[in-house]
Structure formats: structure tokens, C-alpha cells
């Protein structure tokens, strides 16, 4: 498979990807290093139990002093998706609509490379972009045992995978909106709105009756659900995230064929 476009796009975002990856890793290292100070703090669990709605808004459910609860509450339920989506939605909005607006897509499209082939490489680049934060976080969590924090590695790997797919899917929403509207702002705004709604739907479901029954609609519930680090990733979630990504990719292929490239 040719990778020229993939490598070019990653090269153009090299600094942002490196900085965000390092920031995510450094942040998780701090979270891990702080764990010994909180792991026996029953007051923290009592505080969460007393404010379930407020805690739910930050994606926190159940005990946060357990190994899985600590990582969930401080990274995987909120900060990690936020950083991963920042990169993936940012890239998704730039890869078609942004590059068409700044004129670089036109030069690329005048080369002997079909739109299908170019998009396939951009989708592959999106997958790699989506894996930066989960990958860096996974690497940083390897330091956990030194601080008395030993997660279930299989579950952590599973969550890293589903988080990557979640970021990919929402980045693909930006790619699709960009290919349909040819407006970077619409791609960025549309995908961010979908991400925000999906996050709230998943986070508030445990405490808000009105949304509990439709929680399954949120890709966040497929990826990080509730207590995923402790209980493991549901295969159905993995399948749903993959299927959504494929569907969005196919729709983007169709939209890109019709796009006027300047």
C-alpha cells in the first residue's frame, strides 16, 4: 500500500501530535504518581457518592480509589477522550475541507493518485492520529506498578483500542462533514457537537433517567461505557465502533467523489 499522502499529512502535523502525545503521557504519569496519596482516601469515594450527578458529568462512577476507578476518573473517562478527539477531529476537519480551502488539496489531486487512494491514506493517517493519546497513555501507565497501581493490562489494552476507534469515528465525522460541505468550520463544529452530545449521553445516563434508555446510542458507551477498565471491553462495543468507522469511511468516499477541489 502506498503511504505518501499518509506520511505527508503526519509530517505536517508532527509537532502537534508529538506535543499532545507527550502532554498526555506526562499527565498520566502524574496521575499514576499521585495514586499512593489517594488510594486509601475513603473520603474521596464518599464525596463522589454524595454528588453522583456532578461526578457523572466528569465521567466518574463508583469508587475512584480503586486502580481502575482512579485511571477512569482521572484519564480514560474524560481527559484521554478529550485530547484524542482534539487531535482526530482537528485532523478530520483539516484533511479534506481545510486542505481544500488552503489550496494544498488541489495540488495533491493533480497528481496521479485517485481520490479513493488518497482518502484511504488519509483514513489510515486518521487512525494513527487517533492512536497517539491512547498509545502515549498506555506507555505512561506502564510506570503504574512502581506507584502501587497495577491495572488489568488486558482491559487497559482493550480500552486503548476502543478509545482509538472512538477518536477515529468522530474524526471520520469531521472528514465526512468536510467532504460534504467543503467548510472546515462546519466539519470542526459538526463533529465537536456530535462528540459533546455523545459524551453527555454516556456520562449522564447513570444518574439521569431520561437518557438512560438511549445510552446505547452514544459511541462513548461502546468505547468506555461504565467501569470498562475493571470489567473489560464489550465485544459488541468493539464491533459497533468498527462498523461505524467503516460506514463513515464509505460515506466520505461517496462525498469526496463529488467534491470540487480548488
Amino acid at each position: 500500500m502506498r503511504t505518501d499522502v499518509l506520511r505527508l499529512d503526519l509530517r505536517l502535523r508532527r509537532r502537534m501530535l508529538t506535543a499532545t502525545g507527550l502532554a498526555a503521557g506526562a499527565y498520566l504519569l502524574l496521575v499514576v504518581a499521585a495514586y499512593p496519596a489517594f488510594k486509601h482516601d475513603s473520603g474521596l469515594d464518599a464525596m463522589v457518592a454524595a454528588n453522583p450527578a456532578a461526578a457523572a458529568a466528569f465521567g466518574i462512577n463508583g469508587s475512584i480509589t480503586s486502580t481502575a476507578g482512579w485511571l477512569d476518573a482521572n484519564m480514560y473517562a474524560n481527559v484521554a477522550p478529550l485530547l484524542a478527539l482534539l487531535l482526530s477531529i482537528g485532523y478530520g476537519a483539516t484533511a479534506i475541507a481545510g486542505q481544500n480551502a488552503d489550496g494544498t488539496l488541489g495540488l495533491l489531486a493533480s497528481l496521479p493518485l485517485s481520490r479513493t487512494a488518497a482518502l484511504a491514506q488519509k483514513m489510515a493517517a486518521l487512525l494513527l492520529v487517533s492512536a497517539v493519546v491512547p498509545g502515549a497513555s498506555l506507555l505512561a501507565s506502564l510506570a503504574g506498578p512502581h506507584f502501587g497501581l497495577t491495572p488489568d493490562w488486558a482491559n487497559l489494552l482493550g480500552v486503548s483500542l476502543t478509545l482509538t476507534l472512538l477518536a477515529f469515528d468522530l474524526g471520520a465525522v469531521a472528514l465526512l462533514v468536510g467532504a460534504i460541505t467543503d467548510v472546515r468550520g462546519a466539519a470542526l463544529g459538526g463533529a465537536s457537537a456530535v462528540a459533546g452530545a455523545a459524551y453527555l449521553l454516556n456520562a449522564l445516563a447513570p444518574v439521569v433517567d431520561a437518557v438512560r434508555s438511549i445510552r446505547w446510542l452514544s459511541p462513548f458507551s461502546w468505547a468506555i461505557g461504565s467501569d470498562t477498565l475493571a470489567a473489560g471491553v464489550e465485544p459488541s462495543g468493539l464491533v459497533a465502533l468498527t462498523a461505524l468507522g467503516v460506514a463513515l469511511g464509505l460515506a466520505t468516499f461517496a462525498a469526496l467523489r463529488r467534491l470540487d477541489i480548488h
Binding site: 505527508l8 509530517r11 495540488l107 493533480s110 480548488h262
Partner: protein
Amino acid sequence: MREAPVVVERLTKTFAGRRALSDVSFQVDAGQILGFLGPNGAGKSTTIRCLLGLYRPSSGRARVLGHDPAAGDASFLAGVGYLPGELRLPASLTGGEVLSRFAGIRRLRDTTYREELVERLGAELDRPVQTLSKGNKQKLGIILAFMHRPQLLVLDEPTSGLDPLLQDEFATLLRESAAAGRTVLLSSHDLDEVQRLVQRLVVIRGGCIVVDDTVERLRADAPRTVDLTFDHEVDTRLLATVPGVTITAATNGHVRLTHTGPAAPLLEVITPLAPDTITSRPADLEDLFIQLYAARDQGAPDAH
């Protein structure tokens, strides 16, 4: 007989209900340098983008190197070198990175000609594109268009930002390409450049082709300017009756007129007027284009 490298038939392109191109038809024959001219917004870039498959035509069709650019198969672009009118290169890459990455996508293995072009144009390869002047970016664009020795060159305002010396070097490059049998579609505002380089001209205005002819024939039909001076009063009304004559200025002792067609009927009228001096300027395409361009707002649809 082999199909011409570029064949455009009744090409129409509409953007949100606005017609940018209307039944545009022309062709570029093999080995020919065709000048594609028109005022701003006439539809030059829109036509070029349709030829490269960047825009899908609303109706009509184009054939480029035997392929339909709208079919989605980009393989024909291996034989095309394109320089866009508004060149935008990835800003954070150096000139060298731009050339090597685009050469990589083209699978260009032999870089000898690319290196020769870098040398001839004095391209700056070590600095990021964002720090380069317009002229230095344009040099990179020219190298990107020429480096794979394409069968067809599509050049939109190629000398924009280049100094006169580099414009000459570019003209030499173009003549070498034509001598090697390559076909060139040259879109330009620079009439001097076009008159020096091209064999045929297509002029587009308001999305419609208004002229498609050889430079030789256009020059023959273009208006000649004649200046007459007199040391006595004359009645210029007789001059205006000659077919093909338009009096553009008439002041005391001086008459300027433009004239198309045979000279004899005009001379028959001038001789009895006994002018002091007669000066005739050779036909200039510029006059013809000014007339064509001046009419651009008359019912012309907008183009991208």
C-alpha cells in the same frame, strides 16, 4: 488519426445555479503551445480544473491524453504537469522536502532533470516554504510541473512573481518542451509573453470562448493604428466612411484611426487629403484583447 492531447466539447460548469462555463469547446493539438487568455473571472481556472478532474463538469465533456478526467481514474495525470494560478505549497516543508515528497507520489526515480531545473531556476531548497518569496515559491511550482517531463503541461499564470531574467529562462524552458514534442496549455494575463510563445490562442470571456485562432491570423485581422498629421484644415468625415475604419481621435491637425482589412481603399481616401505625415503602427493583439476584455461585463456569468 490520434486524438489531440486536449479535447473540450461543450463543457458547462455551474456553481450553485451560477454558470461559470457555458458550452466551452476547443482542442490543443500535440506539440502545440496554446495560449488560453481571458480577463479575471472569465473561466480560465475553472476550465483548467475540469481538465484535471478537480471539478466535475455539469454537462459536456473533456478528454485529456485520451482519458475522461471526470471518470475518477487519475492515471492520466502521470502525463500531466500542472502549475496552479494560485500556488499553495505545504508551508512548513522546505523546498527540498516539497520536491522530494511530490516526486515520491509520482514515483519519479530519475531526478536528473529535477536537479537541472533547480540549478537553472536557482530554486531555494533549504528554507521552509512559508519563508520564501512569491517568486521563489513559483520556481518550486514550475519545477513540480516540469520535473517528470510530462506529455502535457497545464500552466496557469506561470511567470507570476518571476523577475525578467527568470521569465526568459522560463520561456526557454517552454520552447525546449515544445521542441521535444510536448503540448502546452498556457493561461496568462501577460500578452507579451503569450505573443512571444504561443502558436494558437483561445480567448474566454464570461465563460464562453470568443476567439479560437492562430496568432498569425489574429494578427492579420487585428486593427492597425494609423496617425495622420495635417498642416491645413481637413474634413475627416470621409475617412469614417471607409469600411473597417474607426476614428479614435481627431484634434487640430491630427487624426488617429484604427483600421482592419485591405489598405488600398483607405489610401484612396487619405491621398486627396494631402497629409503632412502618415504613421502606421503594426497590428497589435493587445488592441484586439482590450476590445474583447472591455465587453466583459456585458452579460458575463461569474466564474471561479
